[in-house]
Amino acid sequence: MAAPFRIGTGAGFSADRLDPAVALAREGALDAMLIECLGERTLAFGHRDRRLDPQRGYNAWLERRMRALLPPCRENRTTIVTNMGAANPSAAADRTVAIARELGLHGLVVACVEGDEVTDLLDPDTPFMDEEGTLRDVGLPIVGANAYLGADALLPALEAGADVVIGGRIADPSLAVAPLARHFGWRPDDWDRLGAGTLVGHLLECGMQVTGGYFADPGMKDVPDLARCGFPIAEVGADGAAIITKLASAGGSVTPLTVKEQLLYEVHDPRRYLTPDVTADFSAVSVTAEGRDRVAVGRAGGARRPDGLKVTVGFEGGYLAEAGVSYAGANAVGRGRLAAAILEERMREVHGIQGPIRIDLVGVNSLFATAGTPGAETEDVRVQAALRSTRREDAETLLWEVEAILCCGPAGGGGFRGQITPSVVTRSCLIDRERVRPRLRLEVA
């Protein structure tokens, strides 16, 4: 039997840790490393950044990630496949080539995959993908729209011998499917194998969420050495079945429980997990312990890929204002409730602000307040207020009023903090895949 293809994760979200990626690049004997750094909001913020500076709009940590990962990946002949290009793959690729030259990695082939940006192809009357209405109904300026590209957009780069493939809105699992399809020669209509590769990509794409991250519940689900948790490795066979594991030297754990939790993460119907590559079927997937931190997965299947590509459309969303003050000791809850009532009256009646305002009592009930769960008794409560508005002045008013509560509200309030952050709104629609034309640019360092 041929040696398995070894693929590992170098990041599972935009702010993911770097040191475990470096350990994996050095010690993981990887054929490929996927670095997944893009969410719907991250991409919309990338478009905003690019508008302010044409050389920005890619992942903020690209520079540090590439400096740390290019040398060990070069040494170990590990291909990097990443969507760190976000809203500006071209600038990300240029920066990567410059870093490679600085580090003396001459001859490194960097591929830039573009064509995911479809802002100019969208009609305002395009309907939403999964809800009533059209893009026009949002009534806000579009900051950018990107179609999800699949493995077929990455394969020409791999076939051209790229050491680093940088794209923007590449579908997360496709970052794994492309190197697997290239290595094993899977046909573009071999739906079962593409489904199996998609399962591998799905399990790897969130990094530590399959090796013990987002999992621990002390006393029920303990994870060893979570502070040093390792990123996952998949050892994949020609049929797409795989072992999920990690470096023995890294913290965390890989068990059927960690794998099952990630199996359905952000999945709706397990029989129909849609990607640009395939309609993957995870409903009969097997999950079997094969030894310490080794879990075998198999029996994923697939059917024909969808004709439409999902498009994420980002809109300017105004501002999110958040501000809080704290109360502690006897009757902290009573004083917190009084502060909340005063804030509500000030914002609504004195300032006439109409839009949604939320005021939570953190420590009593906040995350589950809307769910109506009973609150807790506490002597340490934080009054946390939030609003969204297209008017910056409204956002500033919230911060002003919450700070004023210190001297103008109940006794013993302290610890004011407040922040205003730009907000984006995203919606999804579909585009005929024939209208989306991926473009490849190769550059040698």
Partner: protein, 105 residues
Amino acid sequence: MARRILRDVAHARAGDKGDTSNVAVWAYDPADYPLLLRLLTPERVKAAFPHLIRGAVERYEMPHLHGLNLVMRHALEGGVNASLNLDSHGKSFSFLILGLPIDEA
């Protein structure tokens, strides 16, 4: 004896897509899987949180892995871009579901 909740017999993970939250719930012991099926019907889940879950609840079963997937539409207060909940992704919803009592199930 303390009141038993779902967390005593199952583990769960929450994910979000737009305004839809999904929570997959897995029995530690296969013998408890039928209890999950009885307790976590779409009707009972929606009825437990009527103000939170404003859309339909769908359920997908994974009997061979002793788990099921709850897909809750319009359950994220507009989604990560619109919600004023501090946890705008609904990451904490796994523990909302795991907090359901199982005494009467």
